[in-house]
Amino acid sequence: MTPVLEIKNVTKNFGGVRAIDDFSVKIEPGKIHGLIGPNGAGKTTIFNNITGILTPCNGTIIFDEKEITGKKPHEIAQYGIGRTFQNIRLFSNLSVLQNVILACSMDAQYNLIDAFIRSPRYRRMEKQISEKAMSLLESVGLDGNCDEIASKLPYGHQRKLEIARAIALNPKLILLDEPAAGMNADESAELVGFILEIKERHEFTVLMIEHHMDVVTNLCDYVTVLNFGKTIASGTPAEVKKNEHVIEAYLGGAEGC
């Protein structure tokens, strides 16, 4: 099967710091792929390179058989990669519903003239977008909060809203940066169910960064472990958890948190 995303020998330097060092990985379609590693290993940097916020110093990134290295963030989003952020980045002063609607601009295939004359096409698409946004909110369980201001939501809800916003792109691939951060065990468990469910419903591939090992174990089909920007291990969660290097560099004595 051709991978959805293939990263080939990517390197990224910040001044003297080599954050990613000749990193390669293939993400199989339909899978949930975990990316773990110590703090500062370069995980978020990889996300930023994939999504075009950063440009790799070296190497190529291929998505859906197209090379996307060095493309602009919005282009990459349009190709079908959605993401969430480690430090939540919502449109904070806008309502929950507006947050999702803003992410649907690609569905609005009308032009300025349509907008000015309120053409049937314009009406139809605007209607579709509202409906889509509502149903997305429904699927993440935020339909009851659609008029609330995003920044006033509890933390966990903000994370879900970010995910909903990413799904609004109809992505083939979703990148989740620590979705379970700040959640307790119960909430994490709920998140696992939630991600599985929406993944089934919307049929995308997931690449996620996570430090909660129970979430990783329960969710990921495959895990890549990163340290100092290099892969130190990969395999199923069970496999990597047993890997000595991983235990030494990442997990420490006690497994799972």
């Binding site: 930023n48 999504t51 480690q86």
Partner: protein, 290 residues
């Protein structure tokens, strides 16, 4: 001729620099352009003038009072206007708009109080210029440059080397957390505004000596604004370098090309430099990390 023009340019730049340094200081703290800064300089000049002309105080004493007055006015701006806006948690642009409002108030207020006339300090210098070869150098220009240089050095040291400076930078980066860590933000704001005001006052008195005192003399603050953007916002060193660069450019364009196109060319240069260095000559930008 070229040498003379260079001297002219540097001395024009010196005046811009003196205002720009206080301007940059406030920007470095609050991240907003204090458009009323030039007007504070103007008020400082009027205070000094009042004390020499009406009360017959010796010039130095009056100048010190003028500088103090400007510091107090600047402090009051912070206390009565900007602080309230900060407490409202309004975006920084509101501070900028308020500053514009204040500059209108000060300009027209001083017109009401002092009249729009040009007013003159009594002559304080026996000679106004000295000649080195065929080049004429203004004594006041030398003084201005010296004051600007001292201001630069002192501010640089204070901001980068002292605890006070660390506090300023911390507040600039994240006011709420700075408070949480024990930095008395209100006191710091007050102090910084007073210092910037004193710098403005100094500039005002020197400006007044050179170009007379009148209500719109603060308009030169616009040049200071441009200089500090040019040099990199928030960087005192950048502001001063930017000021000199602008002064020299203006004079050179006037001297060798056309005064009519002076501003056109200066601004074109500014835009070009910003396109090459998007945060000015010496500004640093910490890009947001996603």
């Amino acid at each position: 001729m070229f040498l003379q023009q260079l001297v002219n340019g540097i001395s024009v730049g010196g005046i811009y620099a003196l205002i720009a340094s206080g301007y940059a200081l406030i920007y470095s703290l609050l991240g907003f352009s204090n458009w009323a800064h030039g007007e504070v300089a103007m008020l400082g000049a009027y205070v000094a003038l009042l004390f020499t002309a009406s009360l017959q105080l010796p010039f130095i004493a009056a100048a010190i009072i003028g500088i103090g007055g400007a510091a107090i006015i600047s402090f009051l701006n912070e206390r009565l206007a900007y602080r309230r806006i900060r407490e409202n948690k309004a975006p920084t642009m509101f501070l900028m708009i308020a500053a514009m409002g204040l500059s209108i108030v000060f300009q027209n207020g001083s017109m009401l109080l002092f009249g729009a006339k040009f007013q003159k300090f009594p002559p304080i210098m026996p000679v106004s210029s000295i000649s080195i070869g065929s080049v004429h150098v203004g004594v006041l220009d030398l003084l201005t440059l010296a004051v600007a240089a001292v201001a630069l050095i002192v501010l640089e040291i204070v901001i980068t080397k002292t605890k006070f400076g660390l506090g300023i930078r911390a507040i600039a980066s994240n006011t709420a957390t700075a408070g949480l860590l024990g930095i008395n933000t209100n006191k710091m704001f007050a102090l910084v505004f007073a210092i910037a005001g004193a710098l403005a006052g100094m500039a005002g008195v020197l400006l007044g000596l050179k170009y007379n005192v009148y209500p719109t003399m603060g308009n030169i603050g616009l040049k200071a604004f441009i200089a500090s953007v040019f040099g990199g916002l928030g960087s005192v060193r950048g502001a001063i370098v930017g000021a000199i660069v602008i002064g020299v450019t203006e004079v050179m364009v006037s001297g060798y090309l056309s005064s009519g196109l002076r501003d056109l060319i200066t601004f074109a240069l500014l835009i070009i430099i910003l396109l090459i260095k998007p945060s000015g000559l010496m500004g640093v930008s910490v890009e947001e990390k996603a």
